[in-house]
């Protein structure tokens, strides 16, 4: 393109405003100083030149590419673009094609031995970079950046770099079957305090796991989801298990204890909503602490494991936490093993695993019931809370749980109502039968009476229904007067005793 004219001051020379080609029309800076007509000419020339060059380039690349493919394995040809006669295409398409070929080419120039795996690495990587992050992800990223500001500069940058590489790498490897992931395990941060290291690890975990949650929680390659449903169904079927059966030593009549048990239930349900393994563990720990509090209030002494485990089982059955198995598996797979194996949270987590294992294997013996009772309760034909036992034990049970009391009275009321309903129904049936019988007897009676009367009266009686219809059809006059006026009617019958 030609150089732009140099301007001096505010004054603009008239010649500068004219088209550079000297056609006499005014030029425009947007058209590089040409008038619209000349600019179009110039531009289309340049374009044609560009297109030509592009085409040549594309053809060259195409050839190179084909050569590369021929030398590499012939199997991975799914993504190759096939040779196309470019002359048939319009200009725009040609340009696009050239760009595409260029990109494909780039993939292969970066790695000298193109293989399926490198393709796999390239594509999803690009994908994760443009992917929209969820709210939690961006929040975690922000928090992590904040934390890193507290660290020394080079260390912080290194950690962030590693984390990012890790996330992108894992997001790709999710496509592969299950893997074990402990990238930072073999790291000790020389010269740092153990607390500092721990804190760093926590933050790294928080960041990575929040970002990766969607990929690694309940992955499709495992059977977690199926197990989730199985355990959920199982717990639902076990709703009838009473604390007494499990040997739970909590006092369910105290509102304080009930409140704590409710809190424990809330905490364990909340576990599913957390993304980071340590947050999930914290939920379990909180739940356990509430249980211990409930036990202490009930028994007036610190609880031992003998009390704690049954209570935890009771809480799990009552809560039926969503996606329980997936959550346990997720924590097992991704939580820092040290934390899981030795610490306090690890202890509670182990207890929870134990509780779930117990629920899965639970049978009549472990509840000290007979097989028959167990089967009946499982099938829903009987409930241990229904008043099928002797009244004394029922009263005990009711006093043990105030929630049950109104339920029980309601149940009794319903039973009473049902009884009355039955009574009403049978009475109605009796009445129905009596009415039918009475109807028949009346007809019989009338026939009997009619047989004793003279034939004329008989005829008029037999025409009685007709007459009635006439009376009903007559538009005016009260019924009685109408009947009296009728001459065809016999004198009114005198009442007679039925027996005669």
């Amino acid at each position: 393109m030609a150089a732009k004219p140099v301007r001096k001051g505010i004054h603009v020379d008239h010649s500068e405003l004219l088209c550079k080609k000297g056609c006499g029309y005014y030029g425009n800076p947007a058209w590089h100083g040409y008038c619209s007509k000349c600019w179009r000419e110039e531009y289309s020339k340049a374009r044609h030149r560009q297109i030509k060059e592009d085409r040549e380039l594309a053809e060259r690349l195409q050839k190179e590419e084909e050569a590369a493919y021929a030398s590499s394995s012939s199997s991975s040809t799914t993504t190759t673009s096939r040779p196309i006669a470019f002359s048939k295409f319009e200009e725009k398409k040609t340009q696009e094609k050239a760009r595409k070929v260029n990109t494909v080419k780039k993939f292969f120039t970066t790695s000298k031995t193109p293989s399926k795996r490198s393709m796999l690495l390239c594509c999803p990587n690009n994908f994760t970079m443009v992917r929209q992050h969820s709210v939690e992800s961006s929040q975690a990223a922000g928090e992590f950046q904040e934390f890193l500001k507290l660290l020394r500069k080079p260390a912080a940058q290194d950690i962030l770099k590693r984390c990012r590489a890790c996330i992108e790498g894992i997001a790709v490897f999710i496509l592969l079957p299950m893997f074990s992931f402990q990238p930072f395990n073999n790291f000790a941060f020389a010269g740092s305090l153990p607390e500092q290291v721990e804190k760093t690890m926590d933050n790294v975990e928080k960041y990575i796991m929040t970002r990766l949650y969607k990929h690694v929680f309940c992955p499709e390659s495992t059977e977690d989801e199926k197990k989730d449903l199985a355990i959920q169904k199982r717990i639902r079927a076990l709703h009838w298990v009473t604390p007494q059966m499990l040997g739970v030593p909590i006092n369910e009549s105290s509102p304080q204890v009930i409140d704590m048990v409710e809190k424990a239930i809330t905490d364990i349900i909340e576990m599913d909503s957390k993304r980071v393994p340590q947050d999930k563990l914290a939920c379990i720990t909180r739940c356990s602490k509430h249980i211990f509090n409930a036990l202490r209030v009930s028994q007036n002494e610190p609880a031992s494991a003998d009390d704690f485990l049954p209570t935890l089982i009771h809480v799990v059955i009552r809560a039926n936490p969503p996606r329980l198995q997936s959550n346990l598996q997720y924590i097992t797979r991704f939580c820092h093993p040290n934390r899981l194996m030795t610490g306090e949270a690890g202890y509670y987590f182990t207890n929870l695993c134990c509780a779930v294992a117990f629920i899965e294997k639970l049978d009549a013996q472990s509840l000290s019931l007979t097989e028959e009772e167990f089967d009946r309760y499982m099938s829903g034909n009987a409930s241990p809370r229904r008043p099928t036992q002797e009244p004394s034990s029922l009263v005990d049970e009711l006093s043990a749980c105030p929630v049950l009391a109104p339920l029980h009275t309601n149940l009794l009321d319903l039973q009473e109502l049902e009884k009355q309903q039955c009574q009403l129904e049978s009475n109605a049936a009796d009445l129905d039968r009596a009415l039918v019988a009475w109807d028949g007897s009346v007809a019989q009676e009338v026939a009997n009476v009619a047989r004793k009367l003279p034939p004329k009266v008989q005829a008029s009686i037999s025409s009685f229904p007709l007459l009635l219809a006439e009376v009903a059809a007559s538009p005016s006059g009260p019924l009685d007067s109408e009947v009296e006026d009728s001459i065809t009617l016999p004198p009114p019958l005198l009442p007679q005793p039925a027996g005669s």
Binding site: I159, N186, P302, S304, A305, D306, F308, F358, Q365
Partner: protein, 201 residues
């Protein structure tokens, strides 16, 4: 949740009423459950700092439910434990038989776990009649299994601290060994880009 760092996982095994909880209580709070207390909310899990061989280390003591209905799940508890104390009641022979079962399980499943036998309620066997577990049987068995045997009483505090001190000493030795392997990378320096294959592991 501020999680305390714990170095050693120590599991308590034993039948119901074999004195596991009392043992922990005597060791950690130095008291016996006849007296009322308020401060703790539970001692199913206790972390106790100890000094052993000139090192500070924290024992995480895991109490387990001894009831037979949870027997099948016990394995979940002692997975990865560095030490296990198997308790049995000197006044009850069946608890000793159960203890044998657990020792076997431990030796089969957790080869790195040290096993300590703990005969509890020693204060009750002052007269020979109350003792239901034969002294010689007990010692022979411990020797056979290469397990350390302690006769303790949580009521009087006899041998309780000795037992845990021994465990701490043994574990401290082990910890020194693992701690000295230098596998660290100084993150303040320009670390090599070996993390690029972090997920292939």
């Amino acid at each position: 949740m501020n999680t305390q760092r714990v170095d050693v996982k120590l599991v308590l095994l034993g039948r119901e009423y074999s004195g596991k909880t009392s043992l922990v209580e005597r060791f950690v709070f130095d008291r016996f459950s006849c007296t009322p207390y308020q401060s703790t909310i539970g001692n199913a899990f206790v972390a106790k700092r100890m000094e052993a061989k000139g090192k500070n280390l924290t024992l995480g003591i895991w109490d387990t439910a001894g009831s037979e209905r949870y027997e099948a799940m016990t394995r979940i508890y002692y997975r990865g434990a560095q030490a296990a104390v198997v308790c049995f009641d000197l006044t009850e022979n069946t608890s000793f038989q159960r203890a044998k079962f657990w020792v076997n399980e431990l030796l089969n499943c957790e080869e790195h776990c040290r096993v300590y036998l703990c005969a509890t309620k020693a204060d009750l066997v002052g007269d020979k009649m109350a003792r239901k577990v034969d002294l010689h049987d007990m010692h022979d068995y411990a020797e056979e299994m290469k397990a350390q045997l302690f006769e303790t009483s949580s009521k009087t505090g006899q041998n309780v601290h000795e037992l845990f001190q021994k465990i701490a000493d043994d574990c401290a030795e082990k910890l020194v060994f693992t701690d000295q392997t230098p596998r660290g990378v100084n993150i303040t320096k320009d670390a090599k880009r070996e993390m690029a294959r972090c997920c292939v592991k």
